[in-house]
C-alpha cells in the first residue's frame, strides 16, 4: 500500500507539469491572438523572416 504515496506524488507532479505549461503559454502571449496563429501556420512555405529560421 505504500506505493500509494508514490502514485499520489506522481499524479500531482503530472498535473503540475500541465499547470506550468498553461502558465507558460499565457505568459508567452499565446492567447493574445488566437485567430492569427491559425493563419500564420499556413504561410510557412517561405523562409519566415520573423525568427530568421532556415527551413
Amino acid at each position: 500500500m505504500s506505493a500509494l504515496y508514490l502514485l499520489v506524488l506522481a499524479s500531482i507532479a503530472v498535473a503540475a507539469i500541465f499547470l506550468f505549461a498553461f502558465i507558460w503559454s499565457v505568459r508567452s502571449n499565446q492567447f493574445e491572438d488566437q485567430e492569427g496563429s491559425a493563419m500564420r501556420m499556413l504561410h510557412d512555405n517561405e523562409t519566415p523572416q520573423i525568427n530568421n529560421r532556415k527551413i
Partner: protein, 821 residues
C-alpha cells in the same frame, strides 16, 4: 458587391465571385473600364493597380495566391501630405513603444485587416523596405508591431508605405483608446489556472472521503490526503481568491457591502473550519467545495468581462478630429498638434479634412459638410469672412481659415463640457445593477439568520452552535447568484455580438432590460447612406440627357454628382461653354442648346422662390424639370418600427429639416414625439427630460451630434456600417446591416433578466435545502460536497442553455462567421 459578415469581434469581408464579370484583381470590385490592366489582370482603379505593381516588383505576389481579391479598394486616394505631422518628433515619440535612437518599435492599428493575405503581406513588410527589421500582426486586435531602423526610414514613411499598400493606420494619441485595447487580464487567467489545478487535485484526494464512511480508510492515508488537500488549498485561498478579499475590503472601507463581501466571508469561514477540522483530526473540511467555487466564479467573471478587442467604445470628438493641423506661420506651413492650436492661428484645410475649431474663412471656397455634426445632409457653402464651425468637413478645394476659438471651447466640442459627460456611466450601471442591490440585503439577512440559529442552539444544545452556523455561512454563499449573472451575461454578450450588437460590458445588458422609451436619430440611423433621386417635370430626350450629364459631370457640387448618379453612365456631349455660378448653379451651351442647372431663380430667371422641396432644377431650352434628393429609409424600417411600437414609446430627434415629417409620422405611432432641427444640446436635454419623467431611455444614433444624447441616455447604441470605424462614445454598437434584427436583439437582452431570476429561484431552492439541513446541524461533508458542485453546474448549464435557446427562438442564432475561401 462585397458583403460584410460580422462574427464575434472581427469583420470579414466576403466578396461574391462572378466568374463572367470583370473583377478588379486587387480588391474584387467590378471594373467599369478595361483600360486599367496589366497583362490579363484588370484593375478597378489606378490605386489598386499601384498596389499590385509594388507587390509585384518586390516579389510579394503570394498575397494574391492565398486569397482571391484580398485587397481593399484604393479608389479613394489619400492626400500625399496627410501624415506629414508624423515628421514632428514630439508626436512620433508618443507613438513609439521603444526606441534607442535607431532601433525603434511602433504598434499601429490597421482597421483594414480582414484576411490571411493581409497578415502574410504585413508580416513581409521587410521585403518592401529593408529598414523594416520585423513586422508582426496581431490579427484579433488588428495591430501590427513594426521594428525598424529610424535612421533609415521615418515613421511617416512607414505609415505612408502601409497606406500605399492599402492598410491606412488609424492613429490616435488618445490614451483611453490604448488602455482599452490591453484589457486582456493575464493575472485573472493565471488565477483561474491555479484554481483549476488545485480544484481538480483536491477533488481527487477527497474521493476516498466521499466513498467511505468515516472510519473505513486507514488513518495514515486519511491524514495524508487531508494534509495534501490543505496544502493544495493554500494557493486557492491566498492567490486565486485574493480579488474577492480585496474587493470586499475596498467595499467595507467605503461603508458598502458589495457582492464580494458575503463571498469573502463564506470563503474565510470555510477555510477556517476546514483548517480546524483537519488540525484536530475531526473531519476533512470543505476545501473541495471552496476551491470549486473559486474556480467557477473566476471562470464566470472571465466569461462576462470578455471585451471586443478591436472595437472602441470610448471615443470622444478627439478621435474624430485630426491629430495635427497645418498651420501657416511666417516660417512657412508647419504641422502642429491639435491641442497646441491657439486663437488667431491661420490653418490650411484640404479636401475631406475636418474644421478643428470655430473659425473664419480667409481664403478659398468653403463647402462644409456638417452631416456628422448636425445631421443635416446637404453641404453648406460659406463665403469668405463668414464663420465655419468645428466638426464640419470641407469638400472641394483647399481652404484657409483663421481660428476664432480654441479647440476645446468651440461650438461642438463645448458639448463635452456638459455635466452629462462628467458622470461615469460604467460606475453608474454597476451601482444600479441587481447584483449590487441584492448583495446589500443578502449579507444582512444572512447575518440575521445566523444570529437566530445561534440563539436557538444556545438554549437547546450549545455544542452545536459553531458547526451549525459555520455550515450555514458556507452553504449560503451568494455564489449561485453571482454565477447565474456572470454566465448569463457572458453568454448573452456572445450571442448578441453574433447578431451584430456589440455591447461594452455586461452591465449594459441589464440596463437594456429596463428600457421603455427608444429615441432615434434620423440621418444615418433611420436612413441609409445612399439617397434616392427623382426627376419630375418635362421629359428630356436621350440626347438632352447626355448634355445634362456632361454639364453636371464637370462640377463637384453634390447635386451635380447626384444628377450624374441618377442619369447613369452616358455618352459625353460637346460643350461650347460651361460656367459655374457659385451658390446659384451651372450654365452651359452645347450646340444650340442652353442648359441651366441650379436654383429655381437661376434656372427660370424669375423671382419665384423654390416652391416645393426640390433640390435643384434643370432647364434645357424650354423644358424644365425638378430634381429631388430624398434620403432612403432603411428597408426594414417599417417592420422594425411596428414591432418596437408595441413594446416601447418611440421618439425621433433629427438635426435635419422636417421635409419627411409626413412619411415619418406614419412610422412613429403612439405617444412618441417627432422633433426636427435639433441641436446636439437639444437632443441631450430632451433625453434628460424623459428621464426626469421616469422613462428609461435607449438612444439610437450615429454621429457626433448624437454624442450628448448617447451619453445622457440609459443605454446609447451607435449604428455603424463598419464597426471598426469611428463611432462616438456609446454603450453598444449595432452593425447597420443588422438593423432589422433590433427588436429581436432587444428581446434577447431583456430575456437575460428572466433567465437570471429563474436560475436564482433554483439556486434559492438549493440554498433552502442546504440551510435547513445545516440549521439542524446535520450537514455532513458528503452532502455538502455533492450539493455545492451540483448547484454550480446546474446554474452554469441552465444559464448558457436558456440564453442560447432564447436566441434561437428569436431566430438570431448565427452560425460561425463566413470566412473568405
Amino acid at each position: 458587391m462585397p458583403e460584410i459578415s460580422t462574427g464575434r469581434n472581427t469583420v470579414i469581408v466576403k466578396k461574391e465571385v462572378h466568374s463572367a464579370e470583370k473583377l478588379c484583381y486587387h480588391c474584387g470590385a467590378e471594373c467599369t473600364t478595361t483600360n486599367i490592366a496589366i497583362g490579363d489582370k484588370l484593375f478597378c482603379c489606378d490605386g489598386c493597380k499601384l498596389v499590385y505593381e509594388i507587390l509585384d516588383k518586390n516579389g510579394l505576389c503570394n498575397y494574391y495566391e492565398l486569397q482571391s481579391h484580398p485587397g481593399l479598394s484604393q479608389i479613394k486616394p489619400v492626400r500625399s501630405d496627410k501624415f506629414s505631422y508624423l515628421d514632428n518628433d514630439d508626436i512620433a515619440e508618443k507613438l513609439y513603444k521603444f526606441t534607442d535612437g535607431n532601433n525603434t518599435i511602433v504598434t499601429l492599428y490597421l482597421p483594414g485587416v480582414h484576411c490571411s493575405s493581409c497578415m502574410w503581406l504585413l508580416e513581409h513588410m521587410g521585403k518592401l523596405n529593408p529598414a523594416i527589421v520585423e513586422s508582426r500582426l496581431n490579427f484579433t486586435k488588428k495591430e501590427v508591431t513594426i521594428q525598424f531602423r529610424r535612421q533609415e526610414i521615418s515613421l511617416r514613411q512607414i505609415v505612408e508605405l502601409l497606406t500605399t499598400i492599402g492598410y491606412e493606420p488609424y492613429i490616435s494619441l488618445d490614451e483611453s483608446d490604448k488602455k482599452e485595447k490591453s484589457s486582456f487580464d493575464k493575472q485573472r487567467i493565471y488565477k483561474l489556472g491555479v484554481a483549476g489545478f488545485c480544484f481538480g487535485n483536491i477533488m481527487l484526494m477527497s474521493f476516498p472521503e466521499y466513498l467511505s464512511s468515516n472510519n473505513d480508510i486507514e488513518h495514515q492515508y486519511a491524514t495524508l490526503f487531508r494534509v495534501l488537500n490543505l496544502v493544495l488549498a493554500l494557493p486557492v485561498f491566498f492567490y486565486s481568491a485574493s480579488e474577492f478579499f480585496t474587493n470586499a475590503w475596498v467595499g467595507l472601507r467605503q461603508k458598502t457591502l458589495n457582492i464580494d463581501a458575503p463571498i469573502a466571508l463564506a470563503l474565510l469561514i470555510t477555510f477556517g473550519r476546514s483548517l480546524y477540522e483537519i488540525g484536530t483530526g475531526t473531519g476533512a473540511g470543505f476545501l473541495d467545495s471552496m476551491s470549486g467555487i473559486v474556480f467557477f466564479m473566476l471562470a464566470g467573471r472571465i466569461v462576462q468581462d470578455r471585451t471586443f478587442q478591436s472595437i472602441s467604445f470610448h471615443r470622444d470628438y478627439k478621435a474624430y478630429f485630426p491629430i495635427a493641423v497645418n498651420v501657416v506661420t511666417p516660417a512657412g506651413v508647419v504641422s502642429r498638434h491639435l491641442q497646441d492650436l491657439k486663437e488667431k492661428d491661420v490653418v490650411e484645410l484640404h479636401n475631406d479634412e475636418i474644421v478643428p475649431a470655430d473659425s473664419i474663412v480667409v481664403d478659398g471656397r468653403a463647402k462644409i459638410d456638417y452631416s456628422f455634426v448636425t445631421g443635416e445632409s446637404e453641404p453648406v457653402t460659406v463665403e469668405v469672412g463668414k464663420t465655419v464651425y468645428a466638426g464640419g468637413r470641407q469638400t472641394g478645394e483647399k481652404l484657409t481659415l483663421q481660428l476664432i476659438k480654441p479647440v476645446a471651447s468651440s461650438y461642438l466640442t463645448s458639448l463635452w463640457n456638459h455635466s452629462a459627460f462628467s458622470k461615469n456611466k460604467v460606475e453608474q450601471n454597476r451601482r444600479d445593477s441587481v447584483i449590487h442591490l441584492v448583495s446589500k440585503y443578502f449579507t444582512i439577512v444572512l447575518l440575521g439568520l445566523v444570529a437566530i440559529t445561534a440563539t436557538y442552539w444556545a438554549f437547546v444544545n450549545p455544542a452545536t452552535i459553531i458547526p451549525a452556523i459555520t455550515a450555514m455561512l458556507i452553504i449560503a454563499c451568494p455564489c449561485a447568484l453571482l454565477l447565474a449573472v456572470t454566465f448569463t451575461h457572458g453568454n448573452l454578450l456572445r450571442l448578441l455580438s453574433n447578431g451584430g450588437l456589440y455591447i461594452r460590458d455586461a452591465f449594459v445588458i441589464e440596463q437594456l432590460g429596463y428600457i421603455n422609451h427608444i429615441v432615434f436619430d434620423k440621418t444615418g440611423t433611420l436612413t441609409e447612406e445612399a439617397s434616392e433621386y427623382d426627376m419630375r417635370g418635362d421629359i428630356f430626350s436621350e440626347e438632352e440627357k447626355d448634355i445634362i450629364y456632361t454639364t453636371a459631370l464637370s462640377s463637384t457640387h453634390p447635386y451635380s454628382k447626384a444628377i450624374v448618379a441618377y442619369l447613369g453612365k452616358r455618352a459625353k456631349a460637346e460643350l461650347i461653354e460651361w460656367k459655374e455660378f457659385i451658390g446659384k448653379g451651372i450654365k452651359a451651351i452645347s450646340g444650340d442648346n442652353y442648359i441651366y442647372i441650379g436654383s429655381s431663380r437661376f434656372v427660370s430667371n424669375t423671382n419665384g422662390a423654390d416652391t416645393d422641396n426640390a433640390a435643384c432644377y434643370i432647364r434645357v431650352n424650354d423644358k424644365l424639370a425638378a430634381f429631388y434628393i430624398t434620403p432612403k429609409f432603411r428597408d426594414a424600417l417599417p417592420a422594425v418600427m411596428q414591432n418596437l411600437g408595441g413594446h416601447y414609446k418611440l421618439s425621433l430627434l433629427s438635426g435635419d429639416n422636417d421635409r419627411q415629417k409626413s412619411t415619418l409620422q406614419g412610422l412613429f405611432s403612439g405617444e412618441g414625439k417627432l422633433l426636427f432641427r435639433q441641436q446636439p444640446v437639444d437632443k441631450l436635454n430632451y433625453i434628460a427630460g424623459l428621464q426626469a419623467k421616469g422613462d428609461k431611455v435607449l438612444m439610437m444614433g450615429d454621429g457626433l451630434n448624437d454624442a450628448g444624447a448617447l451619453q445622457q441616455s440609459n443605454v446609447g447604441i451607435t449604428l455603424a456600417s463598419d464597426v471598426n470605424n469611428f463611432t462616438p462614445s456609446c454603450d453598444a454598437i449595432l452593425d447597420a446591416k443588422r438593423f432589422a434584427w433590433l427588436p429581436g436583439l432587444l428581446k434577447l437582452a431583456k430575456s437575460g433578466r428572466q433567465i437570471i431570476n429563474f436560475t436564482f429561484v433554483i439556486s434559492i431552492i438549493y440554498n433552502i435545502v442546504g440551510l435547513t439541513i445545516s440549521m439542524q446541524g446535520l450537514m455532513s461533508p458528503l452532502i455538502a460536497a455533492i450539493l455545492m458542485p451540483a448547484s454550480t453546474i446546474t446554474i452554469v448549464l441552465m444559464t448558457t442553455g436558456l440564453s442560447s435557446l432564447m436566441a434561437r427562438s428569436f431566430k438570431l442564432y448565427v452560425k460561425h462567421p463566413v470566412t473568405k475561401t
